[in-house]
Symmetry: C2
Subunit: 320 residues, 2 copies
Amino acid sequence: MASEFDLIARYFTRATPSARLGVGDDAALIVPQAGFELAISADMLVAGTHFLPDADPAALGHKALAVNLSDLAAMGARPRWALLSLSLPQADEAWLAQFSSGFLALAAEHGVELIGGDTTRGPLNLSVTILGEVESGRALRRDAARVGDDIWVSGELGGAALGLQQLLGERQLEAAELEACLARLHRPVPRVALGRALLGLAHAAIDISDGLLADLGHILERSRLGAEIRLAELPLAAAVVRRLPEPLALRAALAGGDDYELCFTAPAGCAAEIQAAAAAVGVPVARVGRITAEAGLKLFDAEGRSMPLREAGFDHFAGR
Amino acid sequence: MASEFDLIARYFTRATPSARLGVGDDAALIVPQAGFELAISADMLVAGTHFLPDADPAALGHKALAVNLSDLAAMGARPRWALLSLSLPQADEAWLAQFSSGFLALAAEHGVELIGGDTTRGPLNLSVTILGEVESGRALRRDAARVGDDIWVSGELGGAALGLQQLLGERQLEAAELEACLARLHRPVPRVALGRALLGLAHAAIDISDGLLADLGHILERSRLGAEIRLAELPLAAAVVRRLPEPLALRAALAGGDDYELCFTAPAGCAAEIQAAAAAVGVPVARVGRITAEAGLKLFDAEGRSMPLREAGFDHFAGR
């Protein structure tokens, strides 16, 4: 007996030519290519915690997949397959139609096939598992940073945080700024092509979901190294520069989160190659600091003066 | 900055020697064996829909993994890796300790390594993705039943449904019966070894999560065939036979669900081999019917009389 949720799950059923067996059995069957490792990650988005219950369903569908694709981007993996488990308060077909259109459009853009998942009744919860392939031994791991590496950041930082501040009523952005910042927040662009382009060039990588300091901190922790960041080199979003006084602009970039850019490290001699690889995929990149043998994270202002983390308002990170 | 949920996620961190890279990066990295297909499935359990919010956390941990292992069992796949995404109303360490002990004990029993997932705040939701390996081209698929196949069922049916009826106050079971039925309901035993033993013997298979009629119905639908079931051959749980009048006992077995036994089809000449394979892994199996070319599902009583589905109380299935 097909339940209303089984019926609705059909919104998500598309051809899966690259799977041996797609949706409709107890499990899907896939065969990764020889010479590749399979990269797997899962992220769960919950109403009231990660988004408002009345959020635009098409944007939610996009974001639920985008944050997972961003994890593969940070490994340098090529996305291949996804599973989507959905808990829904009611079987709302209009909502589902929009959600699936947002999800499947981004999936199609990245050649990702939806091969499984689950649909059930309950508080709104979007749980995605993503699978991709990366050439054996070449994934961009958090533990692979080396002393002297440059630290790079893709795209621009702080826009998503500024968009969130506007939604919370803390800012008054102009229409164009608002649109740009809300696009960052609601429809992040996973840097998949950049991650692929960095294979063999970059050492360590991570995606910036919690802010540069926290996420770079994960690289430092796993690599057991430290870092220096040149604040003047941070690629701040245009609206962030215009709308926020400098301390708050830095805070949006360093601790704002939700930008889903890549932070990566690469040998100091490779700057030209990195710039060329990034240009080839149309993503700007900025060199913002370097990896040090000495543990901890140091910030430097435009005049090269060290700015203690506490003074910059980052007590939380000072203890690393 | 590690949140309370990051800290709690450490309850689930165990060594993952069979993964190239386990928990702690943007994605885990695995390499399936050459000559095998990767079987992947996801199931989501939600408080209030699949279990009561005050359910025993150790049993929940067991069940969240067991229902996923059961999907791999139904493919004949060997479980290898799992991802667990958890949404929790609060960071309750005692609850987490018990939940993780139940989950990890069953994982260890099946050699499953937990290689990723997510932990966040929100209404209680347990979302598991399971990965296993099956010899290429040999998985037990729903679409592989053939005309003349015997239909088999493992273990016994109806116990979980009877346990649920007791929880809902509809029955008064004795202590021993109650314990057996609640164990079926709360700590289902996935038939992984049986699924593996059936490779090369069985044609189609499915796990019985929604009741025999619904789940066999999925095999018939995907194989475009029909079936006859001999009601007297159904392996009813002992408490079901003792406590329920025959029509309700049949209903518990046919439509009760949550038993997580396997239903499978195999060539008619293979009965002795099937019995031997099942005996070798210590699981009883019963031959309960056969696959027919004529579409639809027919029930027969002990005297061989056809019992219309409507008369037997299964209007929902009569239209297949």
